[in-house]
């Protein structure tokens, strides 16, 4: 018995009514990007039709309405992750940009040759490449926390790895393995070494109740599009004193207090980091997405996904004894992204057959090539679940996989 009324939820999502190749679509790729409910689409449409104007500019009524709606979106996002203040919530394009902002602004102001940044083998490229760029430019040292044979973070050498570190940049939930990392003890360990903590919470925030203060994190990056909101907007949350000390990222309108011939002064937080016209309508849509999730309750969301993930893990291993699943079996320490591989069938070929069944899964390296090399595989297929997925859809996945297996049998 699910904790969510999934049939009613499904009715709220126009894209889930689609038919592909003559079959109702089975959307199992929410870890890449989630579908959007009517309420989000309507909130965005309403702004465009009735209250659209640039924000923080005009003194006329429509501009005031747009500004209020935009800042209301910010307040909802900040509150959703337990941010102490909405001023600490910077709108960016996506989680990748949030991490790049930290690397560019905080990193370039604070890191010197030989300084250590610690990341893990299970990071998305978004939390690897910005630090590698700094390594190439500044000569900082990157250290890696490995992954255990049961797909958890290997903390055996945590203390030695953190020794001398300035930053621990770590994911809260792996987009490949589904593994949830327990952030608070990691943050405590990092802080004991005077290192700051950046959390890539892109996969975590959509699925579990998030409290950045309870994590004791310093920077948290996430995006709207994986949590029922629109693409094109994400956020960086950071502690106020860090943001105040950091130099600006992009220069331009909105981020200034004053500009003279001989220089500029920066605006207050959060606008100091928001140069140019922001994603106004997207912020409103994100707020509507949060309203939708909060009406369901994040505990119920988590409960539904835990049950469905358990059902899927059992269904896959019962039907396919030879399947390799890359991620923990214990659903209490993982999210609903299940990466898998058959010994003799490439992930692309699996996806192609699944597409004929209108089953949408991701195939490839999931922007995590260091992890894929550790796992010793070029690519996996990944099915991922959200509030609108059902046990019947897991069954459809199993049927489609059985056909792929027959077709490609060597």
């Amino acid at each position: 018995m699910s904790s969510l009324d999934v049939e009613r939820i499904r009715g709220d999502f126009p894209a889930l009514q689609r038919v592909v190749n003559g079959r109702p679509v089975v959307f199992l790729d929410s870890a890449a990007s989630a579908q959007k409910p009517e309420s989000v689409l309507r909130a965005m449409d309403d702004i465009y039709r009735g209250s659209y104007a640039n924000v923080h500019r005009g003194v006329y009524q429509m501009a005031e309405e747009a500004t209020a709606a935009f800042e209301n979106g910010r307040a909802k996002v900040a509150s959703f992750i337990g941010a102490p203040s909405r001023d600490e919530l910077i709108f960016v394009r996506n989680a990748t940009e949030a991490i790049n902002l930290v690397a560019y602004s905080w990193g370039r102001a604070n890191l010197r040759a030989g300084d250590v940044v610690v990341v893990s083998h299970m990071e998305h490229h978004a939390n690897v490449v910005p630090w590698q760029m700094l390594a190439a430019e500044r000569g900082i040292e990157l250290r890696w926390l490995p992954v255990t044979d049961d797909f958890r973070l290997d903390l055996t050498n945590l203390e030695a790895t953190l020794d001398g570190a300035r930053l621990l940049a770590i994911t809260a939930m792996s987009n490949v393995l589904g593994t949830i990392n327990d952030i608070r003890p990691l943050a405590d360990a990092a802080h004991a070494h005077d290192a700051l903590v950046l959390v890539d919470a892109c996969q975590y925030v959509p699925h579990l109740r998030t409290d950045v203060a309870a994590w004791d994190a310093d920077f948290v990056a996430f995006s709207a599009h994986k949590m029922l909101g629109p693409s094109g907007i994400g956020a960086l949350w950071a502690r106020r004193e860090l943001l105040e000390a950091m130099p600006p990222f992009l220069g331009g309108g909105e981020m200034i207090r004053d500009v003279r011939l001989d220089g500029f002064t920066t605006n207050d937080l959060p606008w100091k980091f928001e140069a140019g016209t922001p994603a106004i309508v997207e912020a409103v849509g994100w707020g509507a997405a949060i309203d939708y999730l909060e009406a369901l309750g994040m505990d119920a969301v988590r409960d539904h996904e835990e049950r469905l993930t358990r059902y899927a893990l059992d269904a896959l291993t019962d039907r396919f004894p030879q399947i390799n699943i890359y991620g923990p079996q214990d659903v209490s320490v993982r999210g609903g992204a299940i990466s898998f591989l058959f010994d003799d069938i490439h992930a692309h070929d699996i996806s192609q057959v699944l597409d004929q069944h209108a089953v949408c899964v991701r195939a490839g390296h999931h922007c995590a090539k260091p992890l894929m090399r550790q796992l010793g595989v070029p690519a996996t297929s990944r099915a991922s679940f959200y509030i609108y997925n059902t046990e019947a859809e897991v069954d459809a996945l199993v049927v489609a996989l059985a056909e792929a297996e027959t077709f490609f049998k060597v």
């Binding site: 190749n21 490439h346 992930a347 692309h348 070929d349 192609q352 057959v353 004929q356 195939a363 490839g364 390296h365 090539k369 894929m372 070029p378 690519a379 056909e403 077709f407 490609f408 060597v410």
Partner: protein, 160 residues
């Protein structure tokens, strides 16, 4: 199995996928070694080429790497098609294969009137390779089919 899928996975493709030709390595030098990557899916291919400088002929070719059935089959067919051919013939074959995949170099999309396809394919016998034509209907898979051909082209170019 739907007819759509059977267009893509023709029997000859599955045969090359299950029994790939010319797998292995060559000693470098005298052979050359070129790596190709598909950043989209993580597939990798390594092409070893031995060209006789006297006759400008590809006397041996070996392939390593991993990939999906389309990329493996295309690689296997490529190796069989160019082995024993002159470098010029191999280049012609590369152009013809890319034309088959609807890729026309130096042309903007939508500009082609089909005459380039005809000229690129003129006088070239694709044989088994024509089985890969079904890939065109699945645009994301075209990169799988062309990976080893691009790697071969790079190998021939780097050889100087």
């Amino acid at each position: 199995m739907s007819s759509n899928l059977e267009d893509l996975y023709r029997e000859v493709i599955l045969d090359h996928y299950r029994s790939p030709r010319n797998r292995g390595e060559l000693e470098v030098p005298p052979a050359t070694k070129t790596d190709g990557f598909n950043p989209l899916c993580g597939d990798e291919v390594t092409v070893y080429l031995q060209v006789d400088p006297e006759t400008d002929t590809i006397v041996d070719i070996k392939i390593q790497g991993q990939g999906c059935s389309i990329s493996q089959a295309s690689t296997s067919m490529m190796s069989a098609a160019v082995k024993g051919q002159s470098v010029d013939e191999a280049r012609k074959l590369i152009r013809a294969f890319k034309a088959l995949m609807s890729i026309h170099e130096h042309k903007l999309e939508g500009e082609s009137d089909g005459s380039d396809l005809a000229s690129d394919l003129e006088g070239v016998r694709l044989g088994d390779l024509e089985a890969l034509q079904g890939v065109v209907k699945f645009p994301v898979r075209i990169k799988c089919a062309t990976l080893s051909w691009n790697t071969l082209a790079q190998g021939l170019d780097e050889r100087g």
